[in-house]
Amino acid sequence: MAERLRVHVDPDKCQGHARCKALAPELFELDEFGNAHEVGDGTVPAGLEDKAWLAKSNCPEIAIEVTEE
């Protein structure tokens, strides 16, 4: 079975480019200032792994971590 992924946005690095929200709206949400954080505990539901990596590789601030558990 494939390993489960988890995403996390570093709030000190995020500057609100909102690329993650545009590319993976199931995994990220924005606060009232437009800064991003992961949905829930960041666990990536099966089938959304590509979106997790896509969000990471499009974040200009390198604020997104994807870990394999």
Binding site: Q15, H17, A18, F33, G34, L54, S57, N58, C59, P60
Partner: protein, 405 residues
């Protein structure tokens, strides 16, 4: 300001590596080979022009500077022939450094979130179609003068709550500040005074009659101590929203249409797969990023191994960073479906463009509506494309013919 600077023509550049000049006509026309030459020479180059100025040429050097607010100040954000006195509340938060920057920025963020932009989108779609109605029967148009120019100006006027019909007034001020003002300080001073007077009138009118727009929003905003903002802060931020929101996106939409006019394969791909437009917008932003910002060196430091000294300005070229082949494979090509794209078109670090969500929405809608109604178009061989000079690069004249060649 007693001594108003008289504009001078700059001598042509013969040595780009030691004497670059972003107002040189060759840079205006086609900066990409110049940046490639400079990037090979050094991650940071210097010119004695503009009273001393550095240019970082690599993505990493641009990122280092953008993230280093200790050595690099935003108090001056445009490289000019002169260094006008630093005005308090010039245009917060773009001209603010920490610790003032964050509270000033947070005030402006909520009205520009993606959700807020969704509410504005129908108005922008209508603006695009009203503009197209005005020229579609002609079979040709100067797309820069009659389409891309008016979309952002009318959208930001709508948000600010000022008449969309004043658009030409705003565009003229911006031309004076961002282009003529590089070499002629009197134009800069005149435009800032006129804008401040214009907004002061709108602020005054809202004191007795509040409205549901960005001007009233800023007038009602409170600082971290619960106090209303100083009038100079409100006027400075209003000047910023008007200046920053117009010829930037005008340029980005214009460069996008210029690319699609001369690249039928990409145009046909977007016609066949309109769902690819948001991805394409990111690539067009990378390849033709319109905005170059500036910093002022406050303390000596090194960037990518190169020493930089106080008293100099820095031309913070996000467009050059976006063409760095170390960061982007095929950096010199437009790859319309590029999947990994950490482009810096909206800046990096704490000064990320407040209006990035607005600009993205305007670009997507402007391209979508244009392609729906004018699916086939090409550059008019009888006309000339003309580009703006200086801080914001984009087509100011873009003659296109409709239909298949």
């Amino acid at each position: 300001m007693s001594d108003v600077f008289t504009p001078t023509d700059h001598p042509p550049v013969t040595d780009w590596i030691n004497d670059f000049d972003h107002t040189d006509p060759r840079w205006t026309e086609n900066p990409f080979p110049i940046w490639d030459e400079l990037r090979v020479a050094s991650p940071v180059v210097h010119t004695e022009r503009f009273l001393g100025c550095y240019l970082p040429t690599s993505y990493e050097a641009v990122r280092e500077i953008a993230n280093d607010t200790e050595h690099f100040s935003s108090r001056r954000v445009i490289v000019r022939d002169v260094r006008p006195e630093v005005a308090r509340n010039a245009a917060p938060p773009i001209t603010s450094d920490p610790p003032e920057h964050k509270p000033a920025k947070q005030l402006l963020l909520p009205p520009f979130t993606p959700d807020a932009m969704k509410k504005l989108e129908p108005r922008v779609r209508a603006i695009c179609n009203e503009l197209i109605d005005g020229f579609i029967a002609d079979g040709k148009v100067d797309a820069a003068a009659r389409y891309t120019k008016y979309i952002p100006v009318q959208a930001i006027a709508h948000m600010l709550g000022i008449p969309e019909s004043d658009s030409d007034l705003f565009i003229n001020w911006i031309h004076m500040i961002l282009e003529l003002g590089i070499k002629d300080e009197s134009k800069l001073v005149q435009a800032v005074q006129e804008m401040s007077g214009y907004f002061a009138g709108h602020v005054e009118a809202r004191k007795s009659k509040p409205t549901d727009d960005l001007i009233s929003y800023l007038m009602n905003a409170r600082d971290k101590n619960g106090q209303p903002l100083e009038d100079s802060h409100v006027l400075g931020s209003l000047r910023l929203l008007l200046i920053a929101g117009i010829d930037t996106t005008w340029s980005a939409i214009g460069s996008s249409l210029w690319h699609l006019a001369k690249t039928p394969a990409d145009r046909e791909r977007l016609l066949a797969e309109p769902e690819l437009i948001p991805t394409a917008v990111e690539e067009l932003l990378r390849a033709y990023a319109p905005v170059t910002m500036a910093r002022e060196v406050m303390k000596e430091t090194t960037i990518s191994g190169c020493p930089v000294k106080p008293g100099n300005m820095v031309l913070l070229s996000f467009p050059a960073a976006n063409r760095d082949p170390k960061m982007f494979p095929d950096a010199d090509k437009v790859v319309i479906d590029r999947r990994e794209n950490r482009h810096a078109a909206f800046g990096l670090g704490i000064h990320r463009c407040v209006g990035s969500n607005l600009a993205r929405m305007e670009m997507q809608v402007a391209i979508e509506e244009w392609l729906k109604r004018i699916p086939d178009f090409r550059l008019d061989p009888a006309g000339t494309v003309k580009w703006s000079q200086g801080t914001v690069r984009g087509p100011r004249q873009l003659p296109v013919l409709f239909g298949k060649a």
